[in-house]
Amino acid sequence: MKVKLSVETTEPIEHVPLGALYGVHRAELLRFLIARTGDRAEAEDLVQDLWLKASRGSSGPMANGRAYLFRMAQNLIVDRARERQRRMRRERLWIDGDAPLAGSSEERIDPSRDAESAMIDREERARLSQAIEMVPDGARRVFDLHKLKGLSHAEVAARLGISHSGVEKHMAVAMKYLRRALAD
């Protein structure tokens, strides 16, 4: 394969204050958040939260400010969902007092946030490892390279000698298995 060499001028990077970006895209952002959460009140709350983060944050190198804000919003939604998920697990840990997942007795008598959080981490990790073991071999190999080793889809395809869509299919299989195995 020939190496392509292209001469390109690096454009100056936009350093736009996030706060300014936010002002331009606020309406769109709200529209997006309503579609994404299906809940107007939560969307308003998220927009407010984003505004705080945006006005506090520094400027960053941004090729596409709108996409950047959308992505930030998307992450915030997942953050919140993840917190809810962990809170639910924590409550459950309290209810099943003698669940076998409590590691050492020290953690049981000292239910500080850190110890609890470590407990949830351990439990989650165990469930996840078990679930990953259920994934069929081909899909598991792809999942391993992409999600655990951080290779891009293209690199996984090259490494395993399979097509790009093959990688996507394997990833879909892996995610389906994981979802099923982890469903409460």
């Binding site: 060499l5 994404r36 299906g38 190198p61 879909a172």
Partner: protein
């Protein structure tokens, strides 16, 4: 819990495809919003995937992997290791000048640095400054045939008639007859930046790029693509002055540099693969550079037993 059971696998697959598509810089956010609006089940499916994906990312560094991590640098056989103990150029000069005469069969001479950069001066006054945790090989003891086997090196090569210096770096050969330039070899990228004069960069697969002063070549080793972009000549190998200066550098290049300067293992979330960085990091900040970079790029850096991982904005 799952509204998917009605929609079935089809919705789940669509949601997966969107989840993946949105990680691209040029994602179609309007198309995505339209898809969300079509059916509330779409939102639920997407939520499930996003949450699962985040859970995997949170645990990825500590999850057992089925394959050993890739080793990027093949070790040359019969290497002779050389360490610098004194810091002086004179000492390095003496070592470099004496060693080739002592060995009968020409062996590779390997210069490794630990946490500090070092300068070696060859008999022809070629000076090579090796950045921390970098490796330079003098092939068969021949000082005109060098190899950057890991990390970064800055070359100051006097022009000598009839002498061409050849430097190998992974699948590329850099040829030079007298200039100042740097070569940075990261696991995924090769960067050659020229401060003065001209060098040619030739991939093993064919084709040659001529680089003049103020130009840098950044080659994506996996994709076999290279691009040439301007660089401020003062910023070439600015790590010698304690600063890491980047202009539109792939995040993987910055991460590899930080790994060398801090000694930490550094990984990047796949969603950040296409991100580039322009800015300056102060080497004196040490491990503080992780948060400096995270702040500048509005991403997050998380430390665990497995090292430091850069993630999209997650925990604030």
């Amino acid at each position: 819990m799952s509204a998917l059971d009605q929609g079935g696998d089809h919705v789940f697959e669509q949601a997966l495809a969107w989840h993946r598509a949105l990680s691209r810089e040029d994602a179609d956010w309007d198309g995505y919003i339209a898809w969300l609006d079509e059916n509330p089940a779409h939102r639920t499916a997407f939520d499930e995937i996003a949450l699962l994906d985040r859970m995997i990312d949170d645990h990825a560094p500590s999850l057992p992997s089925i394959e050993p991590a890739e080793v990027s640098q093949p070790a040359a056989p019969h290497r002779r290791k050389m360490w610098w103990f004194g810091g002086s150029i004179a000492a390095a000069l003496a070592v470099a000048a004496v060693v080739p005469t002592l060995i009968r069969t020409p062996a590779d001479i390997v210069y490794d640095t630990n946490g500090k950069s070092r300068t070696v001066t060859f008999a022809d006054n070629t000076q090579v400054t090796l950045a921390p945790r970098s490796t330079l090989v003098v092939k068969a003891g021949d000082q005109t045939r060098l190899q950057v086997a890991a990390g970064e090196a800055y070359f100051s090569v006097p022009h000598i008639k009839g002498r061409t210096l050849s430097i190998r770096a992974a699948d590329y050969e850099v040829r030079d007859i007298g200039t100042r330039f740097s070569i940075n070899l990261a696991p995924e990228f090769l960067t050659v930046a020229v401060a003065e004069g001209n060098v040619s960069v030739r991939p093993d697969t064919g084709g040659t790029a001529e680089l003049g002063a103020g130009k840098q070549l950044i080659a994506d080793r996996g994709r076999r693509l290279a691009r040439i972009a301007p660089v401020t000549t003062n910023d070439v190998a600015s790590w010698r002055q304690g600063r890491l200066v980047y202009a539109n550098a792939p995040l993987a290049v910055v991460a590899a540099d930080l790994a060398r300067y801090t000694g930490d293992r550094v990984t990047i979330d796949p969603r950040l693969r296409e991100r580039r960085f322009s800015g300056v990091l102060a080497i004196a900040n040490g491990a503080g550079m992780f948060s400096d970079l995270a702040e500048l790029m509005s991403i997050s850096s998380r430390r665990s037993d497995a090292g430091v991982r850069f993630m999209p904005l997650g925990k604030y």
